[in-house]
Structure formats: structure tokens, C-alpha cells
Amino acid sequence: MAANLDQIFIHLRDWLVAFLPVVLRPATGVLLSVIAIVCVFPGLFALTTVFERKGLGRIQNRLGPNRVGPFGFFQPIADGIKSLTKEDIVPLSANAGVHFLAPLVLVVTVFMGFAVLPMGRNMVLVDMDAGLLFFFAMGAATELSVFMAGWSSRNKYSLLGAMRAVAQMISYEVVLLLSSVSVVMISGSLSLPKIVDAQNQYTGVFPHWYIFTPWGLAGFIMYAIAATAETNRSPFDLPEGESELVAGYHTEYSGFKFALFFLGEYLAMFSISGLGTTLFLGGWSAPLSFLTFIPSWCWFFGKVMLSIFVFIWMRGTLPRLRQDQLMNFAWKFVLPFTLLDLMVTALWRFMGDGWLRWVVCTVILGTAYVFMARLQWRQKHIGPRSYRYAE
């Protein structure tokens, strides 16, 4: 019964596909899975916008939207109608073709990233050998769309926002890749379902999730920081900070194109949370061995929504980082720490099983963290201001 519930979507798809001749079955199966992804994740996006506004409201001692529907949960419908019926203004001197293509490229590449995430047992759309690389390739393509949006608007502020956004995304992309490489090293495969299978084992009650190892915890924290920066989320949302750059690279977008940017940003958040869940939190595996009766896709989406709540929580708490602080943080702290984490992971693997590797790795990572933190503090010399002029 639990196994049936676990595979309910697979059985549903197979049952629907059985109505067709054998020739059409594989293509229709894939098509049905694609339709499911395209329906589920934007639905989650709508839910997340409400949760975000209400959650941020509660954190800030106020109610969120509560007029539309019970407790305001139909607010996304109102937002959707608003964005569909707003006038689509394109600036006269803007590059119309590139201006039109930018949100499309964003949404398309972000949706492609969902193709490799294992959302449950046997529930991955395409089981690619180099699945993780595909995911990062799609993530890299989103940077291009950000640049296209900023440049085609023919607006200095948009261009500035786009350049900053791209610089930020490139810096943190390196961190993202390096923190995933340690997972690949231990699990021995770039294929995401295999990474989940490697974590789906239990010693006693406790799972073998990588976050429960010292290198995994460090890697997860670095991955989380990089993920927040990749999706331009607070505290790294300077490129779209309302008080600094109006709306940054999507200033000149109105109506449905703006909604597509918004959708793209939240979907990127979902897909990067999904990847983080797969790499470090065990994907669709249950946290305790006796909880496996709850379906795997429940666990996956539960963990993803938990990550989203942490994103919202961080947005409500932390102030925005300035561009130079952001870049300093990336290159001078996060990247060296991630490289060290990579080496510690290698050490972990070669030390073999036992309690010694736990102690050694924890000690190395802890002292490095404290040492680098102290170094960062000492580097702040606040003296008389000096000026550098552009040549």
C-alpha cells in the first residue's frame, strides 16, 4: 500500500499511456511527465508567493494579504489577472527582438533544469549520465538572459543592474559547482538518481545523508549561500533591489513579461533547492528508517518547501549586501573554504570508515572556518577615504 502510494504517479502515467498504440507510448509518457512538471511547479510558485508575503508580513509584525480568498490564499489569482491584463510597454529605443526574447530564454532554461531532478523513486524525467552537468549548464544559460534583459532595455540603470547580476551569478556559480563536486567525489557519479541512491541507506535509524557529515555540512552551507546569490535572493538581491536600482534588469518590463521574470526567479529557486536537496539532504529518502511509509515524493517536496521557507526567513532577517561586500565574500571567503572542503572530502574518502575521520575532518573544517573568519575581520581597515578616478 505504501509502495503503491509512492509510485502513484508512475502508475497513473502508465495507465493513461496504455490507451495508445505501442509506437506512441514512450513519447506520450514523456509528454505527460513534462505536462505534470509544467503544471506542478508554477502551482507551487503561486503558493510560494502567498507564503512569502504572509510569512514576511508575520516576521515584520504585520498581516500579509488577507482580502482575496480565505486568509488571502487566492492572492496569486489576483496577481495573475493583474499581470495578464496590464499594458505591455516596450521602450521606443529598446531592442525589440532581444527585449522579447530575454524572459523567454530565462523561463525555458529554468524549466529545462527540472528535467534531471529526481522527485521521487523512479520519478526523474530524464536519467542522464551527466545530469548534474546538464543542470549547471542550464543555470549558466540563465545568466545570458539576465544580461539580454538589462542590455536591451536601453536604460543605464537596467544595464548596471544586469552587469552586477551577471558578475554576482558568475562568482557564485564557481562556488556552486565546487560544492557539488565534493558530493560527486563521494558518490562516484554525476547522475542525480545515483547520488540519491547513495544516500538512501540507513545505519540503524539514521540516514546516510551527506549533510550529516562534516564535509557535507560545510558544503551544504556554502551551497546554500551560493544558491541564494545565484537566484538573486535577499541578502544578495542588489541587482533587483528596489531602493537602489528601481527594479534592476527588469525595470522596463511590465505585464506578462515581468510575470515571466518573476516566475523564472522563483522557479530557479525551486530547482536550485531541489538540487541542494538531492545532493545534500538525501533527495526523496526519508530522514528516519521507519518513516519510509510516507511517499518519496512527499519527502522531496517537503524538503524543497522547507528550503523555500528558509529562503523567505533569510529575506525577512538579513539586510542587503553591497556589491563589493558580496564579491569580496565570494572570492575571499566562500571560495577558499569550498576548496578546502573539497580537499577534506578527499581526505574523508581516503581515511576509510571509522570515528577518526569524523574527528579529523571536523577539526580541520572548524579551525579553518574560525581562522578565515578572523582574517576577514582583520582585513577591514577603516581609514581616511581615498578616491580612485576612472581613466
Binding site: 498581516l63 574560525v370 573568519a373
Partner: protein, 211 residues
Amino acid sequence: MLGEGIVKGMLETARNFAGSFVSKERLTTVEYPEQRIPTVEAARVFPFLVYDGADWEGGMRCVACQICEKECPPQCIYIEKSKDKKPDFVGKPQFYPARFDIDISVCMSCQICVEVCPFEAIKMDTQFELATDDRFGGLLLDRHELAKSNEYYHSIHPTESTEVDARLAEEKAKADAKTKAAADAAAAKAAAAAAAPPAAPPATPTKEGGS
């Protein structure tokens, strides 16, 4: 330690989030228009004209002295004096305003008209839900719309209105006493003149000194 402040901050916001469901001080929203914050007594929005008694036209305290019209900084008051006079609360015949318009889209609620009015005729109202869709006359209040009774004044500004009433009663009493004294003196003079016409002139100073 790097990250300590972040963790403390996140715990504080978590406390805020959880507390907003249970305690009032962590959720200070008042859902207008279903709930309202009670207005304080010294609140002021736009002026209104006070009238005593039941008749708004007859009991209006304003005597069209036009001091408020001259003192108003954005000049939003427009007064037309009447041609005839009617008696005021003391009994003295006074002019009254045939036309008293305040343009509340211009009024800046400075309360100068209230401060300079010698007759306690214009006071500040606390009503602020005055939005209207009539662009051309909806925010120009005339005499009838501005006239509100003294009981209403008591209901919105209790201490101020009792003070004003006390002052007006005192003035009325003084004026009454003066007229009474004048009437008494006149009556006494008439009586003295009638009662003792053959009285010697040296007797009158003592009579006048005694009254």
C-alpha cells in the same frame, strides 16, 4: 565568530513570526475599515461651525466677523455677511453669515481659525472619511454642511467643550449681571427721580453713592 549575528537575527525573526500568532504586541495591525483605532481627543481634521440649541440657522454662534477668513493661511474660507441682524446668545443683535464656505481640499488643518475666533463659533472636527467622487463641488462645504450642534461638539471634544461652555456661561452671566445692574441703576434712578423731585440737590450725592 562569523555567522553568530546571523543566527541571532534569524532566531529573533523566528520569535517574531511565532509570536505574531499569539501575542498582540507582535502583530500590531489594525484592520481598517473593520477595526478602528479610537481617535484621541485632541485630534483635528477640518473645521465646523457650532450652533446652540436645535435650530442650526438661528443658533449659530458665528457673527460673520470675518477674522478667520483673513487669518486663514491658504485662504480657504469664504464668508458673505448678511444684511440684517439677529440677536446672539447674550442678546445683542449681531450679523450672521449668509454664506460660509470652506474648501476642505485646500484647508491644511492648522487650526488658526479656531484660535482667532472671538465667539467660539468655529471648532475642529475629527471626521476624516470625506472622500468623494464629485470632483467639482464635493469638497466645498457650505454653511449647512458645516453646521453641527453643540451636543456633537461635546461628543468629540468633551473637556474642550465643557471649558468653552463654562466660558460662554460666565460671559453670559457677566453680561446679564451688567444689564441687570444697568437696569437696576436706571430703575433706581427713575424711582429716585420720581420719588424725590422736591428733594434738595445735596441729598442726591448720598443716593448715588449708596447704589
